[in-house]
Symmetry: C2
DNA sequence: TAGATTGTTAATCGATTAACAATC
DNA sequence: TAGATTGTTAATCGATTAACAATC
């Protein structure tokens, strides 16, 4: 799966939205969809959608459109959702709990394989069907359960330590929720989420009304 | 506060990062900072930073740099953080609880003024120093407490209803966490957060290794 | 066949980066 | 003054949109 034209982040960020929309269409019993219809539902230009897709191959039929089920599978494959990667959440505070209960993880095909915390009060408690493990066993559990993605949900001050531990344990990627700049080797892809950006942007648009609106951080 | 050149979303999204970095510098006792240093800390081009800032005015001193405290205040003002807007969270599930306990809200100067839920078991319980209110009283409490921002943390199926209620109650902006496309009048700015985009993007980068990495959803 | 819709190339638009004059 | 660094204009780069030939 080598792509010649390097794919832009903007394109990669639109793929999950195509994927979700296709699943909805599939659930609604949709068989075929045009870039036109997809664009209407997502508020994205049809030519943008076609452009994004052709970066990965030819998925449609001229004069017809795209087969919903087929395209959904294809995009899922491009995103690697068919790998059913395993996640470990580090930090079982309110945020960790919210993530552990977040339906989206399973819906995208990921498996929540471990939850870690360092607080003795929390260790051993159950979250959903998982037991919170002592972070002291992080390395061995990550290895044992073949966990590929580490989710950092600890306070900012501990985030780098958690990242280092995860990397030492052989994690392949990091999904970071701590508001810090993580230092991570270039071989480890990571994505940081920062809610304060979204809230600040909303505040900005409220303070500067008169212009247009609904400028979405992550459009749906 | 009228800006002539319409500001790009990319610029607006960088402002909170400048703001946070300036606060850190301020905490560290920093007095003056150059775009060079700011750029190093944020992994952003210095010329990008200067460009972003000049869209709002002239904040620096040639040959010197920017006064940390002054620039922090200026950016805070541009973002509207000095308004100390009030928020209401609708939906006290795991996500709502995480948001209610999210330090970033207060740190940016916002006030969490109300929490709503429809579940009788949850209504009346305390979250931090707030009591969970019956959603039946949403309209009057929003008005009474002069709440400007509604935070939607209900399941996808109820998100549009919550949005409609908030808007009817006179809310000015919406911060949406439900993975649905909200229909909102153009006069109401809203920002949607969608975690599945970040996780999917991470998955994509894991599936397509060999290229570069650390492509951050929201850089820190 | 006629109509529809993709895949792809070309044109446009906007954002980032580079360069440099102004000036502290 | 010499050195540093901003503010701003120009050059570059990349992403989006438009156009259209290919073809189902």
């Amino acid at each position: 799966m080598q792509e010649r034209p390097s794919i832009s982040k903007a394109t990669v960020d639109r793929l999950p939205r195509y994927y979700r929309c296709l699943r909805q269409l599939s659930d609604e019993g949709g068989d075929i969809v045009s870039s036109e219809e997809l664009g209407r539902r997502l508020a994205i230009n049809p030519e943008q959608i076609r452009k994004d897709l052709t970066a990965f191959g030819q998925f449609g039929k001229k004069g017809v459109g795209y087969y919903v089920a087929e395209l959904k599978e294809s995009i899922g494959g491009i995103l690697g959702l068919d790998q059913h990667l395993s996640l470990a959440i580090v930090g079982m505070g309110h945020l960790g709990a919210a993530l552990a209960n977040y339906q989206g993880i399973a819906r995208l095909g990921f498996r929540l394989a471990a939850i870690f915390d360092s607080n003795p009060v929390v260790i051993g408690t159950r979250v959903g069907e998982r037991r919170v493990e002592d972070i002291a066993y992080l390395a061995e559990i990550i290895a044992e359960r073949n966990i590929q993605i580490g989710v950092i949900a600890v306070p900012a001050a501990q985030a780098q330590i958690a990242a280092d531990q995860l990397i030492a344990a052989g994690i392949r990627g990091i999904w970071n929720f701590a508001p810090v700049k993580l230092h991570v080797p270039p071989s480890i892809p990571f994505v940081s989420e920062d809610l304060s950006v979204g809230l600040s942007a909303l505040s900005y648009y409220l303070a500067h009304r008169g212009g247009e609106s609904d400028v979405l951080s992550e459009k749906n």
